[in-house]
Symmetry: C2
């Protein structure tokens, strides 16, 4: 299977499809070059966007482009589930799901490549992607990362080839994001050498569990490990759920179907409950914690807190995966909406015969190009996150600090990119009007499926609080007694791209030292250093402000401390968001440094500026209230954004073509040039009608003519009367 | 049928269900009264929210609460269409759809009441609502308003009793919001006395037409009326589409199914095309334009422009209807989400044993209460719009100016409330996490169905431009040569509630005169006059600014004028939105004046302040950039919002209970108190476990104890060594 994972790109799939799909653009680019305006090298930009695992992405796109893997719209959830389960087998047969598993069991030990390939599967059907994620990214991954070699040998082959469809049974009806509080227990019984797994009340039932309603034969169940009267916290247990023949639940196990959902209806989410279910002691996935036959607990990690976070750390893969998948969906939507907007005409404001192309309207540009800029930023940030993930999971850079940095980065970017995808899909759908609402154009379908990305694998609001707490903790730890200048360097260091994916969030960069002063750089919003200064200073000031407000909270009684913290919760989340946006901006800026072609670099710089200025515009009141921008300068932000929109307009199609998706990926009726065909046909009809001299006369023109003639007649009469 | 339309309210449905559904609240209120904190009179507030047509709303809610009218989730679009078509007959049998039709044919000539009843139908199933809207609100309404008595007698009875399911065939694939440019033609042939209806190219096909794919036997087709070589603009024609027996298209007529959509899949939207289809001359709905046998055109409205807008004016009913329906959906979502948030517990920040109720988290309050405030504002504004609509359509106040005011108001409010509903449904869904994504809790289902409300019956972006153009036109017309003070009074006059629904948008109110100066009032953001001043001044300044920038545009060549206009499009739309928000704020404020109970008034005033301050916070940068708020005062806005959230918290359930929806309307598993039952069960389990002394010891506590003991031991040792 390794050779499948490594096979070269399909020659049929080119990353950049612009030359094929729009020959007009080639001409436009040629003209642009002649006239000195910059032109985008779509192929090169497409290659850069594909990133480090370009070959795997191409393979995955080729697979996702096959009709047998596509979502069939309008199925019942029962039919959709059946289809998706069948599609999983196609993924197995094509070696698409084994990259992350150990070579010893037929995998490739390739973590970044695995996630890169997974991220592209959203193109085929988000249900397929997430069902695959449940099986191999969660269930299989838990056995892989939390189990030991014996477990690998015993279960991974069946998990990989889908003989054992399984569940990742962590979330409970009563507890989602707060995993430490789950109430399912696994109590060791030394008399029989078994764990007794039990859900003591309704809120402890496992819920929203993929594969639970129908397909799951086994599960990794998360439960509080109790032995000798001590609760050692959440651990993972392998449990058989159903009889492989009858598909009936085994004794003591029951469940419910979660039924129809807002999307992802190809997945059979459900509930599971356990009534004193006995499993062998060796079913404990015991890499980070073991129970001997006599019930003695031992762990390589002494601190229960650190142990818990280490086990949960394996979950970061899900967040990294969703981050990239959300970016992919945003790209699909923008390609379709911008293609349509470049063809669709509506209202003839500037000409008596020709209607305006939608993409020439300022508001339409604002709606789509600002989101295009954010998508580029999110895409480059996503690639950095993936490389960081690969560094950690490959063991190349796998310190505790690396893992913490990775988790903070994943939480920050996953929250932003999943919300961004929903916003982009909705804006694109509305920008295409009624056509946008038809399933044949996919916006509504993708939006419904991606909706839950905002709350699963970590609720976005909770994730941003994790980021905020990390910022505060670092602040408290490192700068308790230092002045503001040190804090400035600290936050800058957190944000610069190099720091993110090579040296961790805490590395201190040289920006402040280089530029001399943040304020000096802030004098110009239009250049890179000005934007960086403004974005960075906002994060540092917000963190410092909340940090000051919470000073001494740890000395208060628990209830008062919680109340104080809660009274700043909104600011904390906003600080985390500002930090995450800065990370995206830095990733975009770093990517600009890797663009060789000057035309591409010029256009992408406008797009990066649009991203930066949009962030500044969104938070303009903060900059004004805190004296970072003058009233006069603040008023130029909107104007400058409008000028950037005009500059980007001629390159908009190039910028979405560089995403490299073909018709087999887009699968939207209005992304095919169909609108242009209709518009051309209509305009030709009216042109011929005018040329024929048989066009009906407009009543308004007739009335104007009559009025003119009456005036002339009246004038003559007056004259003759005078005469 | 009149007696059905007028029958009294069902005694079983009470507007305020709080006393029934949450007895705990009654206690809370009693306590509140004792301690002097204000309490909400839920029943009285519920009655006020029901508005002028309370009785009809109660009837409609009773109907919408019946299981046979509810949406069945998980159906295929084919099954869903069948179910909804059957439900239409239930509406007919219950006299729910006849109120707006002439008494002469069995209606009641009640326009406001009709729309009030219609707005509540969204509770049952948005597909049912919109399918009913297509049949009676659009198709039937067009025959009613654009046809004459002969047409009424001939077709309305069959339309009303559903013998003739029909289409409103206006939109074309090529033209949605720009109705004047539709390309279907109806050319009069004096030789046969017929109109020849024709779609000359693909873009001219009627598209997204409800009832077109399956059920429509007839249609009102909008087409360019051409006679004697002159195009008299868009007119409406009655056309039979299908053979009533075979359901096959008649000769010359063809169509396509629009297929699955992002929502509203109970409606059979489709496309229609006409190839030289001949219909009798008398099928022209000729109230506003007629063609004689010999082909001579005549109209009671000489100006083709005014005639067009008069005919399209009948469409305003759709916008008024959607505005209220969107508010209804927002109320359903907030009741469910706030109920759940008041029961759900997560993370135990402030206590070692008890977890926090979600609704006590600041961020959660911000997410839900700001939207609750906007929903109240939108609800009161919606009632004003409906009364204005009734005034016009009843003929009580039906001048050209009244109609223009109504159209502007409807455009402004429909745009805001439909976007608000989508935002609220999404925020509520995310606020309920995984449970929010399950269809059983309805957020995702309602959101999918309401998605298209943002672009049908007028794309929201286009509608806001209509509002902006009206603001600019009035500005240009009335204040060409006057100073800024006059403009100030003008905009204030546009916005105050009294002006909206009694004297039209152009009436000039006394606010500026009364308060002496806008700036003076702006000194306090916390009181009514301060908020009004800030919100009003923003609108006036934005309109004046764009007005100044566009000055002289009408003297430029068309293309340059269009370019100038386009370069300010974004500002224009923002000015229109600011105006619409001010209208909502004024409506909320006027409603406060009608609250008798002091406790209710106090709480609602906090909610109105929250709405006003949220608007000011959203646009804080504008106030700062334009010198309306100092840096220092601006910084207090967020703090004051946070304080309002805390004040509103104890009344949140009362405020959503006042919406008056029962379990038969909410139909959300988490709105039933199920979460409270689960939480209580879990807490009781742990309480008993702690009491029993058999609770497993937490490893962390064990470690701490061991460490303490070691320290004590160590201390002893050290002491003994010392000693």
């Amino acid at each position: 299977m390794t050779e499948l994972a490594d096979r070269p790109a399909q020659p049929t799939t080119s990353p950049a499809r612009a030359p094929k799909t729009s020959p007009a653009l080639a001409t436009a680019r040629a003209t642009a070059t002649k006239t000195g305006t910059p032109a985008v090298d779509v192929a090169a930009l497409g290659e850069q966007l594909l990133g480090k695992w370009a070959a795997v992405r191409r393979q995955s796109r080729e697979l996702a482009g096959r009709p047998e893997l596509h979502k069939t719209e309008g199925l019942t959830h029962t039919e959709h589930r059946q289809r998706v389960f069948g599609q999983l087998k196609i993924l197995v047969d094509n070696g698409a799901v084994h990259r992350a598993f150990p070579a010893a069991v037929g995998g490739a030990d390739q973590h970044g490549a695995n996630v890169a390939g997974f991220q592209e599967l959203v193109i085929a059907d988000p249900s397929l992607q997430i069902k695959a994620g449940v099986q191999w990214g969660l269930f299989g991954s838990a056995v892989n990362h939390l189990g030991t070699e014996e477990h690998h040998a015993k279960w991974l082959p069946g998990i990989m080839n889908l003989d054992i469809p399984g569940c990742f049974a962590m979330t409970e009806t009563g507890h989602g994001s707060d995993v430490a509080s789950i109430a399912t227990t696994a109590t060791y019984d030394p008399a029989t050498g078994e764990f007794v797994v039990h859900t003591p009340f309704r809120a402890a039932w496992k819920d929203y569990i993929g594969n639970a309603a129908l397909d799951g034969l086994a599960a990794v169940v998360f439960a509080q490990l109790i032995t000798n009267g001590v609760n050692h916290g959440v651990h993972a247990f392998y449990m058989q759920l159903r009889d492989p023949e009858t598909k009936e639940f085994l004794p003591g196990i029951g469940g419910e179907d979660d039924g129809v959902k807002g999307g992802l209806n190809g997945i059979d989410n459900g509930r599971l409950h356990f009534t004193q279910v006995r499993i062998p002691r060796t079913n404990l996935l015991n890499r980070y914690g073991n129970v001997d036959v006599d019930g003695t607990y031992s762990s390589p990690i002494a601190s229960p807190g650190r142990r818990f976070f280490t086990m949960l750390g394996t979950l970061v893969q899900g967040r990294v995966s969703l981050d990239g998948a959300a970016v992919t969906a945003s790209k699909l939507a923008l390609k379709t909406a911008i293609q349509y907007a470049a063809e669709r005409r509506q209202f003839n404001a500037s000409s008596p015969t020709d209607e305006e192309v939608l993409l020439d309207y300022q508001r339409h540009q604002r709606r789509l190009f600002t989101r295009l800029a954010t998508t580029y930023a999110a895409s480059f940030a996503s690639e950095q996150l993936l490389q960081k993930f690969d560094d950690v999971f490959s063991g190349r850079n796998d310190t505790d600090e690396d893992r913490q940095d990775l988790e903070t980065l994943a939480a920050a970017l996953k929250a932003l990119s999943t919300w961004h995808a929903l916003d982009t899909l909705q804006e694109c759908r509305e920008a295409c009007g009624g056509a946008g609402f038809l399933i044949e154009n996919r916006f509504a379908s993708l939006r419904a499926d991606l909706d839950v990305y905002a709350t699963f694998e970590g609720d976005n609001t909770v994730l941003l609080q994790l980021v905020a707490k990390r910022l505060l903790a670092d602040y408290a730890k490192e700068f308790r007694n230092v002045d503001f200048g040190v804090l400035a360097r600290y936050v800058v260091g957190q944000a610069t791209g190099a720091a993110i994916h090579r040296t961790g969030l805490r590395g201190v960069a040289q920006f402040v030292a280089d530029s001399g002063s943040v304020h000096k750089a802030a004098s110009a919003i239009k250049d890179e250093s000005g934007q960086r200064a403004l974005l960075t200073e906002r994060v540092q000031a917000m963190v410092a402000e909340v940090g000051a407000a919470l000073k001494g909270a740890n000395k208060l009684p628990q209830q008062q401390a919680a109340a104080l913290f809660n009274s700043h919760q909104n600011e904390l989340i906003e600080a985390a968001q500002a930090h995450a946006e800065l990370l995206q901006w830095e990733a975009f800026t770093e990517a600009l440094g890797n663009v060789a072609d000057p035309g591409t670099k010029a256009v992408l710089t406008w797009l990066r500026d649009l991203f930066g200025l949009s962030l500044i515009e969104k938070n303009l009141s903060w900059y004004l209230m805190n004296g970072r921008l003058s009233m006069q300068r603040a008023r130029t932000v909107g104007e400058y954004i409008n000028r950037l929109l005009v500059k980007i307009r001629p390159h908009a199609l190039d910028l979405v073509d560089a995403f490299g998706y073909g018709p087999e990926h887009l699968r939207a009726a209005i992304a095919t040039g169909a609108e242009k065909t209709r518009q051309d046909e209509a305009r030709e009809f009216f042109r011929q009608q005018r040329a024929s001299g048989h066009a009906p006369l407009d009543e308004k023109i007739l009335l104007a003519r009559t009025a003119r003639e009456a005036k002339v007649q009246g004038g003559k009469k007056t004259k003759s009367q005078r005469g």
